[in-house]
């Protein structure tokens, strides 16, 4: 029996066990990574999420169009003077998610409202030009957004999000 000899070096043996266990743990954790990472969007999906350009010239005043970017509906509204005025007349402090209309549009292009058309409550698509505030109405649980896409009434906690976009020219925007 060699019990005596292995009891002589308890520290050396412990070190070996700990090192082996640690290597197994590190290896196992590293091996897990590819299995998790594969769930993320793949390269073609990411590439398909590149910016898109939208021509605004055919959109008449009072009209709005819906385009898709990264699988999400984007509402582009050509607002009337009345809608802009309504949006700007509101006392910002009284809003559930206070934000000025100026902060939600590009200066010099006040007539264009560009928002992601996804209700901030649970993800339904609000209907444009409906509801009490000349803006959007979500049929799911009755959230009402104003003509600036800000939440005014109902369960949604936040304003409709503004996607990243910029004006390439007066009649063309690039979303993304």
């Amino acid at each position: 029996m060699t019990t005596a000899s292995s009891a002589d070096h308890p520290t050396r043996r412990d070190f070996l066990f700990v090192a082996t266990g640690a290597a197994a743990a590190v290896g196992g954790a590293a091996a897990l990574w590819p299995f998790i990472s594969q769930m993320n969007p793949d390269a073609s999906t990411i590439a398909a999420g590149a910016p898109i350009e939208v021509d605004l010239s055919p959109v008449a005043e009072g009209q709005d169009i819906k385009v898709f970017w990264r699988g999400k509906p984007i509402y582009i509204s050509h607002r009337t003077k009345k809608q802009i005025d309504e949006a700007r007349a509101v006392n910002v402090a009284s809003l559930p998610d206070p934000q000025t209309d100026e902060a939600r549009v590009k200066s010099g292009h006040e007539q264009w409202l560009v928002v992601i058309g996804i209700c901030t409550h649970l993800g339904c698509i609000p209907i444009a030009h409906e509801g009490n505030y000349d803006g959007f109405f979500c049929p799911c649980h009755g959230s009402q957004y104003d003509s600036s896409g800000r939440i005014r009434q109902g369960p949604a906690p936040a304003n409709l999000a503004v996607p990243p976009y910029q004006f390439v020219s007066d009649t063309k925007i690039q979303i993304g």
Partner: protein, 687 residues
């Protein structure tokens, strides 16, 4: 799993569970205190390796199914996109595809071990039969999995194997239609194969549970084939067997990783990189290496029905082994004659595997028949006879006695391991085709060869230029997106350069709001367009033969290397048959057809093309494409550059694969060493 457990957890929560569902006690008695014969050698580790591989195949398979599309039109492309676009998709696919080979390799070792040490004998008959059932399920699963990528071999393999059932008298044809779900192998076939390929592994796992259960009731056999008698004959499963198995698995991982990272296509068939084509059969249909011996038996019998029966009998006969061999001594260690015949049998199986990969002609047919007779004779004549006439050597009284008498047998085991590994390499003989009347292309030096190989960026950029100016007139690159040109491991273009390159192309898009198709400039996310709107147009413009898509051409074209080169290839990671072939064909055109050779009207003579008659005219001539970097503008240089580029289009992540492979190897070697020393410490007190 042997009797009620005396396991009593100290934690009250665990006690609460244990009283209601004694699963912890079951685990404890099965995998912790379970008495293991102390003389088990490393051949017994393959049970653990197999459990590991089953888990690995299920895990990677479930993940691949998240990305795979089981549709005849989309399956091939979805597999290619898994490899190219999914994060670590190339790794997961290699793990699964090479995993199948590793699984079969391990199961063969496991079965031969059972055969040698008599593990099928009383009281382990049911255990053995359950094993044969697992093996049959594995064969069905492996076959259906091979069909899923929907390449040429997949499609024609499916056709050939399902047609086996047409041999059944009277109802054969109807059964085949039933299996296909159509008039030929098609989309319904693919769908059901996918469904079953996903289902069967769980059945395997179920039978494995029964297999392990039966094992734990009967107790493990051991190299001396005597049952444990006293406590001194056994050690507790944990930590002894656990740590030994973990060391075995970590060594096995080295072999597995070698295939995953350095030889991923070594055991596959090049033809499976050609999308399934119901109109053309590959010159030779060969199954994967692990079915080759049975394939050889099938082909040896000149009658269709008899061949099919022989092939299935070759497996089913294993079920009767416990009764065919009635010798009282279990282990061949103490049976001098049985030992010799066992090794003859192993040689017969390996040779049958070799013959399965050869074309069924000449000497191969005769040899196949002789060996088929030998295969069955081993079970039906040799074993029953031996159990009557052989006088075995006396077996030791107990395991501990055997250990004390033990000499050094390690050398023999290592030799056997090498032979077993050799059997695996024989699989690559699947590439050895009948001579097709062409010269072997000369081997080239490629920048991407070897464990640290990287693509030569300059060659990639020049190759892209040659492709764009010459090849793109007829060939597409449908699995390559413009964005790939800017990705790491590729030609190294910037995002702006990629965008500019893409915008040179006109891409068909639509329909727009008016319902019309329109053309727009290419974007980074677009794929390289094909020069022809569809296959019919491509055929019409090229004298009837559609030019193949080049994305995978270097993987789809290779030539047989034959013995002994394939062994050399395995160790040197030489995987360049494809690029060598493509570069050679590009340079193999000759104006004058040599004496005595006739080629059909409208084709051209090429030294390296199989059959020498190629429809493609000489595409490259000196000075045709201008290079800005001062490289020579010769056909040789063009061929090398464009082949390098095509090699990259076939596997855009090759550099990532080799880099990660190196890191994994360093880790695995360190880990296996640590495991070895830990195992030694754990076992130190037991000898």
């Amino acid at each position: 799993m042997s009797g009620p457990s005396d396991y009593q957890p100290s934690n009250p929560a665990l006690q609460w569970i244990e009283r209601r569902l004694p699963i912890l006690g079951l685990m404890h008695s099965s995998f912790v205190v379970y008495p293991t014969p102390r003389n088990l050698n490393y051949w017994w580790t393959f049970g653990a390796i197999l459990s590991f591989m089953l888990g690995m195949q299920i895990l990677t398979g479930v993940i691949l199914a998240m990305h795979y599309t089981p549709h005849a039109d989309l399956a091939f492309k979805s597999v290619e996109l898994i490899v190219r676009d999914v994060n670590y998709g190339w790794l997961l696919r290699n793990m699964h595809a090479c995993g199948a080979s590793m699984f079969f390799f391990a199961v063969y070792v496991h079965m031969l071990r059972g055969l040698y040490y008599g593990s099928y004998k009383e009281p382990r008959e049911v255990l053995w039969i359950l094993g044969v059932i697992i093996y049959l399920l594995m064969m069905a699963t492996g076959f259906m999995g091979y069909v899923l990528p929907w390449g040429q071999m997949s499609f024609w393999g499916a056709t050939v194997i399902t047609n086996l059932f047409s041999a059944i008298p009277y109802v054969g044809e109807s059964i085949v239609t039933l299996l296909w779900g159509g008039y030929s192998v098609g989309n319904p076939t693919l769908n059901r194969f996918f469904s079953l390929h996903y289902l069967l592994p769980f059945l395997i796992a179920g039978v494995v549970v029964l297999h392990v259960w039966a094992l734990h009731v009967a107790g493990q056999n051991n190299p001396d084939g005597v049952e444990p008698k006293t406590e001194k004959d056994t050690v507790p499963f944990t930590p002894h067997a656990t740590i030994k198995d973990m060391f075995g698995v970590s060594c096995f991982l080295l072999l597995y990783a070698w295939f995953i990272f350095y030889m991923p296509n070594y055991l596959g068939d090049a033809d499976n990189y050609i999308p399934a084509n119901p109109g053309v059969t590959p010159p030779h249909i060969v199954p994967e290496w692990y079915y080759l011996p049975f394939y050889a038996i099938l082909r040896s019998i000149p009658n269709k029905l008899a061949g099919v029966i022989a092939m299935f009998s070759a497996i089913i006969i294993l079920c009767f082994l416990p009764w065919l061999d009635s010798a009282r001594t279990r282990s061949s260690k103490y049976r001098p004659l049985a030992k010799q015949f066992f090794w003859i049998f192993v040689a017969v199986c390996i040779l049958l595997g070799y013959l399965g990969a050869q074309p069924p002609e000449g000497i191969y047919v005769v040899a196949g028949r002789v060996l088929t007779v030998c295969y069955f004779a081993y079970f039906l004549i040799v074993l029953p006879l031996l159990s009557r006439i052989e006088t075995p050597r006396p077996v030791p009284n107990s395991i501990s006695e055997a250990i004390l008498a033990k000499g050094s047998k390690a050398v023999a085991s290592v030799a056997v391991a090498l032979v077993a590994a050799g059997a695996l390499f024989l699989g690559s003989l699947g590439d050895a085709r009948a001579s097709e009347g062409s010269d072997k292309p000369p081997g080239n030096k490629w920048s991407f060869s070897g464990p640290f190989g990287k693509f030569d960026r300059g060659a990639l950029q020049r190759g892209l230029k040659v492709y764009k100016e010459v090849c793109a007139n007829c060939h597409g690159l449908s699995y390559v997106a413009f964005r790939n040109l800017g990705e790491p491991g590729g030609p190294g273009y910037s995002v702006a350069q990629v965008a500019a390159f893409a915008s040179d192309y006109k891409i068909k898009d639509g329909p727009n709001d008016a319902g019309d198709m329109f053309e727009r400039p290419g974007r980074a996310a677009d794929y390289f367009p094909s020069p022809f709107p569809n296959e019919q147009a491509a055929r019409a413009a090229n004298g009837g033969a559609a030019p193949p898509d080049l994305s995978l051409i270097t993987k789809a074209r290779s030539y047989g290397r034959g013995f002994p080169w394939f062994i050399f290839d395995f160790f040197t990671q030489y995987q360049e048959q494809g690029p060598d072939y493509v570069a050679a064909v590009l340079q193999g055109f000759e104006e004058k057809v040599p004496e005595g050779v006739t080629i059909p009207e409208g084709s051209y003579f090429n030294r390296y093309f199989p059959g020498h008659a190629i429809k493609m005219p000489k595409p490259l001539s000196d000075g045709q494409v201008t290079y800005d970097d001062g490289s020579p503008t010769t056909v040789a240089q063009y061929s090398k550059d464009v082949t390098t580029f095509l090699m990259w289009t076939a596997e855009p992540h090759m550099e990532a694969r080799k880099r990660l492979g190196f890191q994994v190897f360093v880790f695995l070697i360190i880990f296996a060493l640590l495991m070895y020393f830990t195992k030694k410490k754990v076992w130190a007190d037991s000898h």
